[in-house]
Symmetry: none
Subunit: 257 residues, 2 copies
């Protein structure tokens, strides 16, 4: 199961941290590392701090944006401090372990870690199904990124490998249909946005939190592939009706002249 | 309770590790650090890696041997790889958390961490009541000392401070908006059905499982009241566009006659 877990680091500044993350991952039996636009990589400091986990560094993928890093993942969890603008389904690291045990075989889990100085942006957090918060001293809450990876990877190892009891499985464990992956979900959200704008329900000049609310609603349901197809089929029907309406209105307008 | 926990580092070689330990301790709410014959301390690298936890470094005690570090402690736990010569009572980090919660008030717990390259000696381990082993990949089992402190301190914080439930996270438990009640959900589903029929996406003669799929998707997300209102607002917009389209088409039709 551990081989289906990807650690994603977004815009890491210090290469030493990347090395320390590789070491923590290998210590816990993880191997899939994806770097989103790291500042300095490869770098000798990364190798030094990896302390022998150079195979993880050498196999690491580099991509330009978070969307690419998670496109083939089925469940995406972003690390977050508390108190974001819109609350999102929040897990503890231990609950994340429980969720990982309930994934269908072969499903890929991504856990996303942000920049050293300011974590993940709201936009990046909204790409995630769940957020995970590592409990900390509220007066000194900023964990080193490798320390955060260490805690999460430890909980995942304990949940998936060690014989420790965890929570009962949640949604998706014994499901009849494959869960939709991130790419399919993103295309559904893009379709939603297009149709919402076309119906004038969403004003691009003043979008407020509408798409964030929709994302949160659907992501926490972990939609399966058929459900995504149903949703997109409905949106397509609305698109066609709107197109027919506009063409009829323009005809009607001409007739009035 | 956390103030009665001492972290003891034996013969640490790299001052950067001492700084990283101080940071991990302060992140988790620990403050009592004792250094047994560190190689280089104080040191600027320790300050740099402490990342603001300099109060822990400044208050750290330095002693010459482990016996001095633990003399006033009531329970001593040494970190250990498996497979020592003489088996010793062995805890997992989680079990250590349980032990910590069962200590009488005011009793002092020391957790002892060894050298970067070879851990604690057998003599040092025999000064300990229990050993604690952090589960690792057996093929790459040597944790960085600050990573080991991070895991132990995390488990101690979770056991002593955080209200950890064994239940899976309950969506909406601490939510900003009231969850929608059954009546509101039923009216949303009725609206969905009406609009789906109006758009001809749902054929009342052959409804298949469409409404069941929609119900299941939304119900398991436990929508809140605003999310239900957003959904109904969108459906209402679609209704209005359809009505306008039909009226325009019928006007268009009359003009053609």
């Amino acid at each position: 199961m551990l081989e289906n877990i990807r650690i994603v680091l977004v815009n890491t500044t210090h290469p030493g941290n990347i090395g320390a993350v590789a070491r923590a991952m290998k210590n816990m039996g993880l191997s899939d590392l994806c770097l989103v636009a790291p500042k300095l990589f490869p770098h000798e400091e990364a190798v030094a701090r990896a302390s022998g986990a150079t195979d993880i560094l050498e196999a690491a993928h580099q991509v330009d944006c978070l969307e690419q890093a998670i496109a083939d993942c089925d469940l995406v969890v972003g690390t977050s401090a508390r108190g974001r603008h819109i609350p999102w389904p929040l897990l503890s690291p231990r609950e994340l372990g429980g969720v990982a045990t309930s994934l269908q075989p072969g499903k890929r889990l991504a856990v996303v870690f942000g920049r050293e100085d300011r974590g993940l942006t709201n936009e990046e957090l909204h790409l995630c199904h769940h957020h995970v918060h590592i409990p900390t001293n509220p007066e000194f809450s900023s964990l080193n990124v490798a320390a955060a990876v260490q805690v999460i990877a430890y909980e995942l190892r304990v949940a998936l490998v060690e014989q420790v009891t965890t929570q009962p499985p949640q949604w998706g464990a014994q499901w009849d249909i494959d869960l939709a992956n991130s790419d399919e979900l993103e295309r559904m959200f893009a379709h939603w946005e297009k149709t919402l704008v076309a119906t004038e329900f969403l004003d691009p000049e003043n979008p407020r939190q509408l798409m964030a609310r929709l994302r949160r609603l659907f992501l926490r349901a972990l939609p399966d592939k058929v459900e995504v197809n149903v949703m997109r089929g409905f949106l397509r029907t609305v698109d066609e009706k709107l197109a027919a309406s506009q063409s009829a209105q323009s005809k009607g307008g001409q007739a009035d002249v």
